[in-house]
């Protein structure tokens, strides 16, 4: 059998779909999109009667409280995002030591590594809310969707996990997680929706 040249280099979720640069209206960009790479992600699902023990463990290890409602709890290196009743996503900026942390949590919950399963995007800029309004069926007005609020919903028929971070100087900041296999579909919706505002795309650590 002939040798086949094979590349086993890691590929980001946006590779071959989106690249850094600009698209849409000329001039100052209304929307900034950062393709987040390198983060660690895991789903953490508790039984109703193990939630208390899980909560104590998370508090001891990370100093974070499991949000019982659709909210995000942010720490210096870890975030915990509500993902349904008795379900959360644990996110870390770096994957160092992540496996050890997950095995400690697995005493109290069903834990599943999802680091490469999602494509993540951070959206900001003065028109970020206007772009999302074209595909998100929720009211994202600041009075209805506050900083730290989380939603599981659909964007352009793609299941999406969405939350709002602290505002930046130029407007609101949202992060959105999508199934990695749907990143291309989402991106085609996003390009069509953000074009009129002008968009600058960059890569970043998440």
């Amino acid at each position: 059998m002939a040798e086949t040249a094979t590349s086993w280099d890691p590929r980001g979720a946006w590779a071959g779909i989106a690249q850094p640069g600009s698209f849409g209206a000329k001039g100052e960009a209304g929307v900034f999109a950062i393709m987040l790479e390198g983060f660690g992600l895991a789903s953490v699902i508790a039984e109703p009667d193990t939630t208390a023990a899980l909560s104590q463990t998370v508090e001891a290890l990370l100093g974070l409280t499991l949000p019982p409602t659709p909210r995000i709890a942010r720490g210096p290196a870890h975030d915990i995002v509500w993902a349904g009743p008795d379900q959360w996503l644990l996110r870390t900026a770096s994957r160092n030591g992540f496996t050890g942390l997950l095995s400690e949590l697995s005493a109290h919950a069903a834990v599943s590594e999802q680091s490469d399963a999602r494509a993540a995007l951070r959206l900001s800029g003065p028109r970020a809310r206007d772009v999302l309004a074209k595909g998100v069926m929720l009211d994202l007005h600041p009075t209805a969707f506050a900083i730290g609020d989380v939603a599981l919903t659909n964007v352009a028929y793609v299941g999406a996990h969405l939350w709002r971070l602290d505002d930046a100087a130029d407007g609101p900041v949202f992060e959105i997680l999508l199934p990695r296999s749907m990143a291309g579909s989402f991106w085609s919706w996003f390009v069509a929706s953000a074009r009129e505002f002008g968009c600058r795309v960059a890569s970043g650590r998440g």
């Binding site: 109703p48 659709p70 349904g84 009743p85 069926m137 929720l138 939603a151 599981l152 919903t153 299941g159």
Partner: protein, 91 residues
């Protein structure tokens, strides 16, 4: 129509999938008579008025919900998680 998910808040009906009446209970496996299974599988009340029904929040929190909806007006009186009923008692 919007359904007020107890976990996610008010969401459009297209985020949910409808299953059917919430109250029929499956008879006990092989012990059930043919008549009891026929009744469970096929016979429904089709009320004009309040109806307890199962909805699945597939685009949101993935919870099964019991929605009490008026079939004439679509007015929703109550939405509750289905699992609390299951944990409660043999209804």
């Amino acid at each position: 129509m919007r359904i007020n998910c107890p976990h996610c808040g008010a969401r459009d009906a297209q985020e949910f999938t409808y299953l059917g009446a919430a109250d029929p209970q499956r008879p006990d496996g092989l012990a059930a008579t043919e008549a009891a299974m026929t009744d469970y599988v096929y016979m429904r009340d089709n009320p004009a008025g309040p109806h307890r029904e199962l909805w699945y929040h597939g685009a949101g929190c993935h919870s099964w919900l019991i929605v009490t909806r008026d079939t004439r007006t679509h007015a929703i009186a109550l939405v509750e998680p289905a699992k609390t009923r299951k944990a409660g008692a043999a209804a």
